[in-house]
């Protein structure tokens, strides 16, 4: 299926303050596209979780965002990428309550629940790429 990219951009996610900028950017794009408040809040929260993971576990990276159009639907797609250590056991990482750090273990699984599409691409030593999509 054809996916048109209507708008796109990129944002560095290196330090903790960038997490705030990432969610502000997500909020701005989502509200420009007329996303409903509840959906927007879910997307922004997912962005916050993933951006924090990028900083804390990935050692910093980038967030690429796109406004896409597919079969008449508009959606927001975000890619979080880092060159960090990667995730060895993705099944475990996507288990509620499991954490390799000191968090609650809700970041990855919670973010997955808050969006329509979630794709995790990672391997040890290969960095992590997470793509999320929320349709409007």
């Amino acid at each position: 299926m054809n996916v048109n990219v209507n708008q796109s951009g990129s944002l560095a996610v290196r330090v903790e303050q960038d997490v705030v900028l990432a969610r502000q950017q997500a909020r701005k794009i989502a509200s420009e596209q007329g996303m409903r408040l509840v959906d927007l809040t879910k997307l922004v929260t997912a962005v916050s979780e993933l951006a924090r993971n990028t900083v804390v576990y990935g050692g910093g990276g980038d967030m690429d965002w796109q406004v896409i159009e597919q079969s008449g639907r508009i959606g927001l797609r975000m890619l979080f990428r880092d060159e960090g250590p990667g995730i060895a056991d993705t099944r475990l990482a996507l288990t509620d309550g499991w954490t390799s750090g000191s968090g609650l273990g809700l970041g990855l699984t919670g973010a997955r629940r808050l969006v329509d599409e979630f794709d995790l691409d990672t391997a040890p030593g290969q960095g992590t790429r997470i793509t999320i999509t929320r349709w409007i």
Partner: protein, 120 residues
């Protein structure tokens, strides 16, 4: 360093979070609040989050931990003013804030706090 102001109202402390919190700010608040509870012997803490348009797992954890900490220090915490969209998102995220008392707004939260403190 950036700080969230803590106001004293009689035996209660009032915190109104009005900025998009980054993690360090949330951690500072936790430290400042416990310090103020201990210095003022406050019996209750009201945290007004009506201006927060997002609560993620980090901020949620900070709120839960402030609530637990203040209980240990003999003060009750009420989290007030959570926006409906934030509440829906939190539950979906998997964070139900067990042990955290909530009220719809500052006024209702204050009423509950007064009752609780009077009952002790």
């Amino acid at each position: 360093m950036e700080r969230i102001p803590i106001l004293q109202m009689g035996e209660f402390l009032l915190v109104t979070i009005q900025v998009d919190m980054h993690d360090q700010l949330a951690l500072n608040l936790q430290e400042d609040l416990t310090d103020r509870i201990s210095r003022t012997s406050a019996r209750g803490v009201l945290i007004d989050i009506s201006a927060l348009d997002m609560v993620d797992s980090f901020i949620g954890r900070m709120i839960a931990s402030i609530s637990g900490l203040s209980r240990i220090m003999d003060a009750e915490t009420m989290v007030v003013g959570m926006q409906p969209a934030v509440a829906i998102t939190l539950v979906e995220l998997g964070l139900t804030l067990p042990g955290v008392s909530t009220a719809l707004n500052v006024e209702r939260g204050m009423q509950v706090l007064r009752k609780r403190v009077a009952g002790r």
